[in-house]
Symmetry: C2
Subunit: 408 residues, 2 copies
């Protein structure tokens, strides 16, 4: 939870220029929930008629705000909607006080914005198990409402950071029937990142028009190929939330539009990769391409077994093309594999085929490749057509420093 971490070596050069999304305005403020001298609350105000889809952690110990959002999702937003997020405290495992905090905050936002309380979503991220000082947040709601602007999405991205070393944003624009539709999203997340969820906190906004049910089904499908395919440390957060808001302000209906779906997937993929690039202690960005599995689901199981293996991740950190550890991770994954059909490559260097080291393999070639910042590991099972790609980072002293050497 330190704010003094050095910027990740895998971070993009700078925060991207994000297009304005009509129909949504943002503000941030410094409420002092835990951090001092920085913003820690963001408010997004959505126009009447917005559709909101979401995916959330499946953790059985998920936080009070997650439970509240899940209960509220699905209804229309004919009178508008709002999202309020704080960093510094996750309001998770806070007993019945957790729900009280959520109710106090949503009620206060409703009073100031005149949006129905049932259309006010919240999220909290930070330390688990401490009561949320919601009064500090409530004291800032007038200031937030006064500061709302279409141009402040970057400020929102900064306010939701915890152990992140850089603010995360991505956008795409697409022409539909001669009109421009814009998508822009922000994310936070760095540790406690594992699949079966929708990463830490992600908010994506589009000015397209789409019914809530269609938007939800599009989101869930893309989420399975993006955020649910990343892992930093195999640990699943109690707060993971992803919300996609289609304001409809462009007047363009994007239902069933492939270009829109593809643009949305680009934004989600980019944001999910930025989370991996900010993985705690990460020095390498690793893409694991699995092909030839019996099913897509088997391919993903193998990919995540490799991506979550501490021995594979430390080998990558040590720039060691230790393919034996990849064999190990495939063997333990539980998905179908036949040792004697297996091929493994690092980038374009074929390391192993048919269950043994390739005759042309020279370890120097692979060792050279492992020095790069971005590593591609390819595994072919030789069994069928199932494929999946997952992304992770290496496991370094930096991870231990962040999580063991400092009290959080």
């Amino acid at each position: 939870m330190s704010q003094s971490m050095t910027r990740s070596p895998l971070a993009p050069a700078s925060f991207p220029d994000l297009p304005v999304i009509k129909g949504v305005r943002f503000a941030s403020a410094s409420a002092g929930v835990k951090y001092q001298d920085r913003t820690d609350v963001m408010l997004a105000l959505l126009a009447p008629g917005t559709s909101i889809a979401g995916t959330f952690t499946r953790s059985l110990t998920r936080s009070a705000p997650v439970r509240d959002c899940q209960a509220k999702l699905g209804d229309d937003c004919k009178d508008g909607a709002a999202i309020l997020v704080n960093s510094g405290n996750s309001n998770a495992f806070t007993g019945h006080f957790g729900q009280t905090s959520v109710e106090q905050i949503t009620s206060a936002v409703a009073n100031v914005t005149e949006i129905p309380e049932t259309r006010i979503f919240t999220a909290s991220t930070g330390v688990i198990g401490e009561p949320l000082p919601h009064d500090r947040i409530i004291a800032k709601i007038d200031e937030l409402a006064d500061g709302l602007s279409e141009a402040r999405l970057k400020d929102a991205a900064e306010a939701i950071m915890t152990t992140d070393t850089f603010a995360k944003g991505a956008s795409a624009q697409v022409e539909i029937e001669g009109q421009t539709v814009s998508i822009a999203g922000i994310a936070k997340g760095s540790g406690m990142i594992a699949p079966d969820m929708a990463t830490m906190l992600v908010y994506i906004f589009a000015d397209a028009k789409m019914e809530q049910s269609a938007l939800q089904s599009l989101l869930s499908s893309i989420c399975d190929r993006t955020f649910n395919c990343i892992t930093v440390d195999s640990d699943t957060s109690t707060s993971d939330s992803l919300m996609l808001c289609a304001t409809g302000a462009s007047g363009v209906d994007a239902t069933g539009n492939d270009a829109f779906a593809s643009a949305l997937e680009t934004v989600m993929l980019e944001l999910s990769h930025q989370v991996v690039r900010d993985g705690e202690g990460a020095t390498k960005f690793v893409e694991i391409q699995v092909t030839g599995a019996e099913t897509d689901s088997d391919a993903k199981t193998h990919g995540l077994s490799i991506a979550n293996s501490p021995l594979v991740k430390t080998a990558v950190a040590g720039e060691d093309p230790n393919w034996g550890r990849i064999v190990m991770a495939i063997g333990k994954s539980g998905a179908a594999a036949d040792r004697d059909l297996l091929s493994i490559s690092f980038g374009d260097v074929l390391v192993a085929e048919k269950g043994w080291v390739s005759p042309n393999y020279r370890e120097d070639d692979a060792a050279e490749l492992m020095k790069q910042d971005e590593i591609i590991i390819k595994v072919d099972l030789g069994l069928g057509e199932g494929h999946a790609t997952v992304w992770t980072c290496d496991l370094t002293h930096g991870y231990i420093e962040i999580n063991a050497d400092y009290r959080s």
Copy 2:
């Protein structure tokens, strides 16, 4: 695979005095498979009439010796049996060459010892994916046969070490019908340790008499409560093998004898704990007691989710009573849990109850407790009678050093 590691701070003061097990003799030799200036092959020769039970890794990429042992297990040993183990090379992912190496070795041992080839078991531990230089081992078989002695079990324990920082042994004796029955075992293992297996390499010998099928069923049942309840890094080896040999030389039939089963469990528990105490980079030994789960299986799932969580393990390394991470690990485990019924203690310090921090909890008390070498984490789910205990170690810079900083 370095031999220069400092002895684990959690190691026992010294190797225990092991009783002689009648009916089995041991030898070790320096074959130079990979390591220089140390022993790396051990031979155990078992008397006619011995029963052998075994459990092995379930990895789908398991090694050639493991496959060979699994195929041979079950038959009687009326003409005796032998076990030959090398360290330095695991003979895993070595294609059809792997089986050839096994055949060459077992055939050579059969020639020298006059034991049928089908009763000769082998194991190999060390680097994955390199051809086993079996000629170096075969060249030492005469020397091994000449050096056999009832008193050399400690030598055998030393010969099978890889990243281990200490040799592992344990024993028990029990009176059955006025006669003493002795059990003694050795183990190796330090990294790539995860459950669903029988840890790295474990050999246990008893002079009791028992039919193979009864011995196997006893072994499997105890294994589920001992070796299958430990984890160092959640990574499952391709070579894990545990063999239990009952020579019958005491003349005492231990079939169905509770005292024998209990003594055997003591030996297996002690050996499994020694493997955790030698976990790569370990500075803390952690026992996780889970009670109140819906089923025993759910309790074990929760326990292993906590034990395998990098965030819990780094918190222990940092002496941080970060119980929020335990809540997280329970939430993600997939087994049944109800946030509002959960209680968590560190040792005797009650930290959380009914889904929130306990009113009497003082973090200083827990922080003091976390400074100890041995930490007990207690979790009560409040749902039923299911319980399980699992063991692990912390995740430290030492683990990263062993697995990333040096090429293996």
